[in-house]
Structure formats: C-alpha cells, structure tokens
C-alpha cells in the first residue's frame, strides 16, 4: 500500500521553523562542545610542530621531555603502530613528520602529561635540531616544476571558435580560513582491551575511522569514532587534525587523553581554502552570447593531497558559471608546495573560479555596454541544457532566469543621507566627513554541485524507530551548527504525522556512514534517508494494523481510530533502516566530460557598498540575494545558512586572508586575521526560488555553500562600480582602492 505522507497533521513539520532541539542548552552555556569534555583521570596532550615550512630534522631526542615529572608519553613517527600515512583519497600525509617537515606547523612529536602546562613544557623540552630547506611557496613555480597532485582538463567544443568581443584577465584569491569559533578538540579513551573510543571535532566520523584504524594497526571494530559537540566547521574538519595522535597517546598511556588547540594552533592544525591564481579569457558576440571560455586555474594545495584534487576538479567544472557556452577549455592544477595544507572550505573550488568568471562577466558587460544582470540573463543556463564545462544535461531544477529576475525585482536601499558616522566607511573611527564617499552596486551569480560527484558511492544510512519515547532518527551525520538535527525532526514529523521526534547521534559502531557534513549534502542525503526510512516505516505500520493514516493519535482507517499510538507502539518493534543514495554519477572522461554531478543549485547576490575613495575603506551597506533551494524545509534555518554563508563571502571580499611569509602564517590569531563583526555586517535580504529538485526530500536542495560563492564577486563588483579600479585580487585591501 502506498499512501501520501500527511504533512499538515503536525505543527512542527516541514515548512515551519521550530526551535532547535539543542537551542536552549546552547543558550544556557550547557551544551557540551568537544573542548568542554572532561574525563576523570585524563591526561592532556600537546604537539611539537615544525617552526619551518621546509626543514630536515637533524637531531630528535625525546629524552629530556620523557624525564620530566608528570609526563607519561612522548611519541614520534617511530611509535606509529600501523600505517605511517593518512589522508582521504590518497594517504600521503605522515601521521608525524618522518625526518623532514613539509609545512610550517607540521606535527613532529606528541606528548601526554598530567596537565596542559606540563605537556607544553615537555614539548619545549624535546631536543631537536633542524636544517632549514628552501620552501617551495610559489604555486606557479610548482606548476612549472611539475610539483602538482593533479591536472584537471576540460575540452569541450571547438578550440578555434571565436567571438567578436574578447575579455582576458588574471585573478588571485588569497587563502581564507574557515575560522569556526569552536577550536579543534578531542578526547581519546582506551577501552582496556586494546581498542579506543575517539570523541573529536569532525565532519564525518566514518571517514575518520577508515583512516585511523590502519594507522593504529588495529582492526576496524577496535576503533569507534563518536560525534561530538561542534562549534562550526565550514570544511576545516573534513580532514583530520589531532585524531590519530590522541588515539596513539591514549593507547600508549592506557589513560584518556584530551587535546585542545588554541586559536594559533588551530590556524596551523586544520586545512584552509586553496589560494588561487587564475587566467580567464572570455569571447562573446556583440549580442552578448558567450562563444568561448578558456581558463587556467592554479590552486595551491600545500604539501599533501587531502581533498585538493577534488577541489581543483570542482574549480574547473564550475569555471563558467550558470551560463550557456559551447566551447570551453580549462586547464587546472593542484600545486604541491610548502604552504599551509589546503582542503575543504564552504564552496569547495567554486569560490575561486566564481570570483574570476563573474569579474569577467562584469567586464564583458562593460565592453558590450549591457547591464551586468542583463548579460547574465542572456546567457542563463537552465534545466535540460548541457552544462557548459562538462556537457552534462542538467537534470532536476535549475531556475537561473527566475533567480535573476527575482533579484532584479528587489528594491535597492535608499541613497545614503545619514550623517551618522556609524553609517560611513570607517565608522566611529571618524575617518571621513562623508564628502568623498561613493556608492556602488555589483552582482555575483553562481552554480554549485550538490552532494558528492564523479562516481563516488555517496550514501547515508538512517534508521527510523518508533517506540514509547516517540520517533527516533538514528544517524552518524554530524551536526556542525547548520541545523540538521532540526530538519531531520521536521522530515520525520511530516512523514509519520507524529510530533515527538528525537535525533539520535550514533558512533561508527552503531550505524553505517552518513557521509560528510559538507558539499551542502546532509539535508538531501541524511534528510533523504530519513524521508525514505520514515515513509517505509509508516507503510509497514499502516499495512500491519490495517489503517490508511497515521497521526499523533494513532492509526486511522476511513476516519476512525483503529489503534491508539500506545497500542501501535505495543504492536512493535517498529524500525526501518535504509542506505539512501542519490542518482548515480560518473567519473570524467579524458576531456573532463560526462555526468559527474547529482544535482545543482544557483544563487545570485546584489551588493551595495559605500566606499571612502581617499582611504580605500568600504562599508557593505546591503546585500540582496536569491537562492534556488528546491523547497524550503525550514525558513529560519535556510535564511540563517544564506546570511551566514553570504557573510563568509563578504569576509573573503574585503577582510579575510592568511598572510604568508615563506610558508609561515604571520596572522594566526583573531587580532590579525580579520573576521566580519556586527558593524561590518550589511543588511541582508533573502528570497527563495522554489522549484522542487528531483531527489531531495520534498524536493529540497542543499543550501549551505552557494551563498558563500556568489557573495564575494558581488561585493567586489560593487567596489569596482564605485571606484573604477580593476580589483583583480581578493581580499580587496584599502590600498588596492586608494592607490589603485
């Protein structure tokens, strides 16, 4: 029997914005984050890190550290019990440096001691001598030297095609840090039988598990990775940091061991967004239609592979934007250098490309004397058309034109009239009288793939249970703050008609993988799993109890209650577990062509800025944004994702960059790495375009990444509009504006 789920019978189902189940705890300061964990008898860990981006270790003597009172273990590469390297697709990163260090801050030795101070003193007591080697820090040079991990290549259409108008440019994107407020932290607890339980910051416990147990030389079932309270992630926790170290120390000492990075260590302890150098050449006809796009994209991955190859492929796949173009030629490079390791960050390769291609679109519009939005509309890629880079026919929804039209319809903010200094660039610093302030308007539009691509077996295991506590949704998916715990409740409520739903967070031994909390994928993947598992459970219940509807009251048949909810529960056990997969994807062919992606979303931003041209200071006044979200499951959470994602794009546009000196980060703290504050935050107006997608629950799409991608080019476009400066590098600094 197949029946439609009853959406309207619950009050907190999809389409509503119920309070988060963890909201009160977080507001009271009682939510347990990884850094709050405390186990009686636990030791503290600390890490010796390389002070050079590239060095040979001449001498390493742990004796002085080991001799200190209160020190229980000092471990080096020689103590790694199993496989010496870890990494996601390719294991090329040493657990601890093996005679040579490849980046500033690379772990060399780890210590467990009675308390953190003692552990830190022991790290300082390790006798080590280095021979500094010349670091390779120029990604272009790395390309020339063929120090690369992959070279994605796209060849589509006619290389001899040409347009009447040519726009060519070179662009750079500085290195952005995810800067989640919660630092990396974790506790490893030995189980007394040779195994270990790890509770550490993460986005994907099963991937951690798959990398950890081989390095520990243990059987898979001897290691259990547990979800923990996460203070954000944004990609920083897709690669491991302290995980294997904690387990090694716990196993070596037989005691629980805690590690907690402070902010400075966090900046070297997790991967960052790839910095980019990019050449783009667009050719178009006088009618504004794109004829050919050529690009060379160099992303700097640092010394190890991590997710660099996938990020670089993504930069290539989305190097044209949501625009139709039949001739596309892209060469991308993941450079291997001694700069800080790069990996996942919100937007995953698309951020870098979008800054370049959207700047190109603006320049093309200027050449053609077309309105920037009109040029984008002329070229809009829609469902059913081939993606210009890969040739993949866009299945599912892609309402690009609707998104652009909706953005165009949004009212602009009124002209600045206030003489309140808080409304000036520079704010209460009183850096201007307001006389030299110029307003500008800019646009950014993007397309982003949703969930994992390229033939990866992407799935999410979900178990839905009905018992006397209500409905339970079991998953190993990581809640990083985005609100998955709420949306899973909503989906289960709407499908089952039962209000009481708890999300149960499981470790790796209790349920299969949910996949990563990344790629904007959990609402669709774990949410999709919850939808299908709950639907199957509902049908089982109705079939066995002879009903046609299920609600909080129980099972109904033709309008009469045939079993109360307690009676339904008593007739259990009720449980349905599924492995949910999205539509199959495929790896690229030798020309980067094929059906690599499961789905897409479009976002568009319009930024309004005021610029003090003399001092080069910018105030982002307002951002209007429209996003293709398939279907909104939780309006407040969706707005929160879009506003927060937009702000990270604003940060990249005008504030955020890791400043490097010979591979060393010189601003690894919040005093010098500038994050947008309340006073930097523009008013953000969010609208949705809802065209249900082909496989997400209720037609929903992932929403986390697109806003971060198109916000940056919109803000820079607005500054360019105000100042006439070229502004080919982000973040845009005051001197780029004032001195040109």
């Amino acid at each position: 029997m197949t029946t439609a789920p009853t959406i309207e019978r619950v009050t907190s189902g999809i389409g509503t914005s119920p309070v988060r189940p963890d909201g009160v705890l977080k507001l009271r300061g009682r939510f347990a984050y990884a850094s709050d964990m405390h186990i009686d008898g636990m030791l503290w860990g600390a890490t010796l890190r390389s002070p050079f981006a590239h060095a040979k270790i001449i001498r390493l003597d742990i004796g002085p550290a080991l001799a200190m009172a209160g020190v229980h273990a000092v471990l080096t590469q020689e103590d790694v019990p199993g496989k010496l390297n870890f990494g996601q697709a390719v294991q090329d990163q040493p657990v601890l440096a093996d005679g040579e260090t490849q980046f500033w801050g690379e772990p060399i030795a780890i210590v467990a001691a009675d308390d953190l101070k003692t552990a830190q003193r022991a790290v300082a007591a390790i006798d080590i001598e280095y021979e500094e080697l010349e670091p390779l820090v120029d990604s272009e040079l790395a390309d020339t030297l063929d120090s690369v991990t992959c070279r994605p290549r796209i060849r589509r259409g006619d290389p001899d095609a040409s347009g009447e108008i040519v726009v060519e440019g070179y662009y750079e994107v500085g290195q952005q840090d995810q800067a989640p407020l919660g630092n990396e932290a974790g506790v490893a607890i030995p189980d007394g039988e040779g195994g270990v339980d790890l509770h550490a910051t993460t986005q994907w416990v099963h991937e951690d598990h798959a990398q950890i147990y081989p390095c520990l030389g243990l059987a898979p079932e001897q290691v259990r990775c547990h979800p923990v309270g996460m203070g954000g992630a944004f990609g920083a926790r897709e690669d491991m940091s302290m995980h294997i170290h904690l387990c090694m120390l716990a196993l070596a000492t037989g005691r629980p061991v805690k590690m907690m990075f402070d902010r400075a260590e966090g900046f070297v302890g997790h991967v960052h967004r790839h910095p980019a150098k990019m050449w783009f050449r667009h050719e178009a006809n006088r009618d504004g239609k794109l004829v050919k796009v050529e690009a060379k994209i160099i992303l700097d991955g640092g010394p190890y592979r991590a997710t660099s190859d996938v990020v670089t492929w993504n930069a290539a796949y989305f190097s044209v934007g949501p625009y139709v173009c039949d001739n596309v030629f892209v060469d991308a490079v993941a450079a291997r250098t001694n700069n800080p390791p790069a990996g996942a960050m919100r937007g995953f390769g698309c951020v870098q490309s979008a800054f370049a291609f959207e700047t190109q679109m603006d320049r093309l519009a200027a050449e053609l004397q077309l309105d920037p939005l009109q040029l984008r509309r002329l070229n809009a890629l829609e469902a059913g058309q081939p993606n210009s880079t890969t040739g993949q026919i866009i299945v599912g929804s892609l309402p690009t034109t609707r998104v652009l039209d909706e953005l165009a319809s949004m009212p602009l903010p009124p002209e600045a009239t206030s003489d309140d200094p808080r409304h000036f660039p520079g704010g209460t610093g009183l850096t201007t009288t307001g006389a030299d302030i110029k307003r500008g308007v800019g646009y950014g539009v993007t397309i982003k793939n949703l969930a994992f691509s390229e033939g990866f077996d992407d799935y999410a295991d979900v178990r839905v249970v009905l018992n006397d506590t209500g409905v339970e949704v079991h998953t190993a998916a990581i809640e990083v703050g985005q609100g998955l715990v709420t949306v899973l409740q909503q989906i289960a409520r709407s499908v089952l008609g039962i209000e009481q739903v708890n999300v149960v967070s499981n470790d790796t031994s209790r349920i299969g993988s949910a996949g990563s909390t990344s790629a904007s994928r959990q609402t669709q993947m774990t949410g999709g799993g919850a939808y299908h598992a709950a639907t199957a459970l509902r049908e089982e219940i109705l079939e066995r109890l002879g009903g046609d509807d299920l609600t909080n009251e129980g099972v109904w048949s033709e309008g009469s209650l045939v079993a109360t909810l307690p009676e339904v529960v008593a007739a259990g056990p009720w449980e349905h577990e599924i492995r949910f997969r999205h539509p199959e994807t495929f790896p690229p062919d030798e020309n980067g062509q094929g059906d690599m992606h499961a789905g897409f979303a479009v976002a568009a931003h319009r930024a309004v800025v005021d610029v003090d041209q003399e001092l080069g200071l910018v105030r982002v006044v307002q951002i209007d944004t429209v996003q293709d979200v398939g279907r909104v499951l939780n309006p407040d959470a969706a707005v929160g994702q879009i506003e927060g994602g937009t702000m990270q794009g604003v940060g990249l546009a005008v504030l955020e960059e890791l400043v490097l000196d010979r591979g060393r980060i010189v601003n690894s703290n919040f005093t010098d790495y500038l994050l947008p504050t309340f006073l930097d935050a523009p008013h953000i107006e969010v609208r949705f375009v809802e065209e249900p997608d082909h496989w997400g629950p209720f037609g929903a799409k992932g929403i986390g990444e697109p806003p971060t991608i198109s916000a940056t080019p919109a803000v820079v476009g607005a500054i360019r509009d105000a100042t006439g400066r070229a502004l080919t590098r982000v973040p845009v600094l005051p001197q780029d504006i004032a001195l040109g």
Binding site: S35, D36, L181, G231, G232, R422, G481, M647, F670, T671
Partner: protein, 153 residues
Amino acid sequence: MIINMTVNGEARNAVVAGSESLLTTLREELGLPGSKNACEQGECGSCTVILDGALVTSCLVMSADCEDSEITTVEGLSTDRELHAVQRALLDAGAVQCGFCTPGFVVAAAHLFEENRHPSSETIREALSGNICRCTGYGAILRGLEALAQEPS
C-alpha cells in the same frame, strides 16, 4: 593563591596559578564551561562575563585580580525554569547555529538590555560588535534583539 569571588550569586573560591585567566578559572576550576575559549585574545567575545557590573572578556582578566569580585556568567542568567528574556528572544529568532559564540552574545546582550530596555538597531549592533559570530551573519541575532527591544518594559 586562593581567590574568593561571588559567581552567579554564590560565594566561591578557587586556587589559581599566577597568571591564570578568569576564563580558565571559570572553566577548569569552577565547573562553568559556558564561557567559551575561541580566541583567548579578547577579540571574539565568546568568553564574555559581567565583572562587578562591567562587561569583560574573561580571557583577558587575571583571576588574581578578582578577589571579592562579583561575576555573572551565562550560567547565572537563567533559572532552571525560565530563560532570560535575551535567551528567549534569540531562541525564537533562530539565532543559534553552532552556538559557540552564543553564551558571549547572551551575556553582552543581557548587559545591554539591563542598561537600555529599548535599544535601537544601531545601538544593538554597536554594543555587540565585540562578539564575533561565524555562522549566522548576525541577521537572526539582530532580528531577535530588535523584537525584544520592541516589547513593552
């Protein structure tokens, strides 16, 4: 040394090391982990507490200077039964995501509303500009507190 303080209305004492920050003492000695340690440099505001009526980042205060002080942390703003008005406003507005900055925002906003029951949007922004949120873009926080500012006294 032993430091005597009144924390959330209770007389407490803590054995503190020479340069130990109030944040460390609260978290590690007094069992109050609600104040968060995101930057420990006074930049992010996640460790904000009220010290003798003034808003401070507890990471920059030495515990040794807190003898006889009165301290209110996020844990002291609500009772088991009832949320503080600021907490309720932020909850209803969907202003909590990862929540790591939330305790600092709650304390800073509670302090603001204590001084000014109907702050303007600009005043809210300025008063909370010492608190960094990486998740929300501040929009929901502002909407929640603007709604609270509109409520009758």
